[in-house]
Amino acid sequence: MTATHSPVASVRRRPQGARRQGRAGAAFVAAYLVLLIAFGVVPTAYAVYFAFSNAQGAFTGFDNFVTTMRDFRFVPALGHVGLYLLFWLVSLVVIVVGLALLLHRLASDGAGKALRFLFYIPGALAGAASVLVWLFILDPTVSPVSSLLSGLGYDTFGQVIAPGHLPLLFTIIAFWTGAGGWIVVIYGALNNIPKDVMEAARIDGAGAWQTAWRVQIPMLRKWIVYMVILAFAGGAQLFVEPQLLSLASVGVAGRDYSLNQLSYDFAFQMNNINGAAAVSVELLIVSLSAAALFVARSGFFDAE
């Protein structure tokens, strides 16, 4: 579909139309631009300013960054978040895309619609509510899957949430709440693949697997890239799961398990807003680098 029209050429042929379009485009984004500056750019710039200054507002260069990185909790937190990100991204991309494709094949008989709704329900339990539910699910004394847990050899809550299990458990909790929304997005995108493209694949003798791999997934490229960028940033900001678990587990998962928790601790326990901002700016830089990599390799910003 993208190869059949060439907007750039038509714009060049009609410079006046391009000017008119340019003015209209600017008008369409004007209101958004105001909100972006007021509630996006200004607070972000303010946070960056915090990161490079001290409590008195004096410029301190990279002092806050050095101090936070030298904090004894920084490197372990970095490791925890890295491992969690690996599990989280792989499961999200593989399972969400896989489930969306499966549901899409079912779409005709209404079962797909019902399953989409069921898969989405946990999405309504965002944030603290989902973790509260999982605190019960993972506790063998009240869990509805206690037989499964004891079958795996875990009889107490403390055994289930052993430190080595945490990246996997956080992935399960985050996936439980987050996957449904992305399934809806990817499913909608699958619906927008023109019928004749799918028809052509079928006529060419492509099976379900080949259609998915060679036609559908390539056409979902932008949606998957967008999902990965946001999932990466969201995962790097891991906070509410370990925070609530640390409240309920009496310290198995410390309050400094993730980088974002460390940032929160700096801001609200140690009264060091500048240190907190420095950790956040570090997270931002890592997420941005990852995003830049994906954007550059996928043509994400091209107006095709």
Binding site: G25, L35, V41, Y120, G181, V184, N191, E304
Partner: protein, 278 residues
């Protein structure tokens, strides 16, 4: 294939089922009974009465607050984000790429960090403690701009818009009469996700609206949580029990599920089928 879907259905549904059943039990049944058994209608009724008695019907007031905050910002978001995403995808204008990059950077910034600068900013214009201190930040929804942007770049051919221009349509006319009708699935998607994001947001209203009668329901449920003796042993006579907390959680999420059911048809409709023949 069926096995995989069945396994994931159990995974997604079982904890929710447990939560629903928990609301029908007494605290004693919750701990000692079968986790997947139904308690009793009587206990459910008693839990509801205990829940509404908390701060004299506070839960209903919180629900009303949530509806106002999420509703007004939803309208602003749609009026702002959809034209912006359309313009970014379908027109060339100076600063387009810079806008895309700035939006992405802002989206990747950890939210917890932005709350303090936002507080200072809104404090400077004397909006702290008013509902606008959360409605306006909610209305800024970059995620929705990107959803619209990707939708237009992947699903709507530019030739269609070019044809309308040649037929003498103004730029606004092209958007209003060609692009917007084709965009109804993504408008529904943006609207739905914006509503859910605002409805479930905890941290921002927690900081901006400290009074109990201004709280949205998420913050209210947080208040309830800290009134549960098994989580917080210091509470006194105003105690809330765990099944009542489960019931409050269910009440808090129901509007989201209703909106999802209602909008599902629009969310996934293949509206574009037959729009162009190439």
């Amino acid at each position: 294939m069926a096995v995989v879907l069945a396994a994931f259905t159990v995974f997604f549904v079982l904890p929710v089922l447990w939560l629903v059943l928990a609301a029908t039990k007494t605290d004693h049944q919750l701990v000692h009974g079968n986790p997947l058994s139904f308690g009793s209608w009587h206990a459910l009724k008693a839990n509801w009465q205990a829940l509404t008695a908390f701060q004299d019907n506070a839960i209903l007031l919180w629900l009303r607050n949530s509806a106002i905050y999420a509703g007004i910002s939803l309208v602003i978001t749609l009026c702002v984000a959809v034209p912006a995403g359309y313009a970014l995808a379908m027109t060339e204008f100076r600063g387009r790429r810079a806008l895309l990059v700035a939006t992405l950077i802002v989206m990747l910034m950890p939210n917890a960090t932005l709350v303090v600068p936002l507080f200072l900013e809104l404090n400077a214009v004397h909006l702290i403690g008013t509902m606008w201190s959360i409605i306006l930040p909610y209305s800024f929804y970059p995620f929705g701009v990107y959803l619209t942007y990707i939708y237009f770049t992947t699903a709507v051919p530019r030739d269609l818009l070019a044809a309308a221009r040649i037929d003498g349509c103004s730029e606004f006319g092209v958007f209003r009469h060609i692009a917007l009708p084709l965009a109804s699935p993504v408008v529904a998607l943006v609207g739905f996700f914006s509503f859910v994001a605002n409805w479930t947001n905890y941290f921002l209203p927690y900081v901006m609206l400290p009074e109990s009668d201004q709280m949205p329901v998420q913050v209210g449920v947080g208040t309830l949580l800290s009134s549960v003796p098994s989580f917080n042993p210091t509470v006194g006579s105003l105690a809330i029990e765990r099944p009542q907390l489960a019931l409050a959680t269910l009440v808090a999420i129901t509007p989201v599920l209703v909106v999802f059911l209602f909008s599902q048809r629009f969310l996934v409709a293949g509206m574009l089928a037959g729009a162009t023949k190439e």
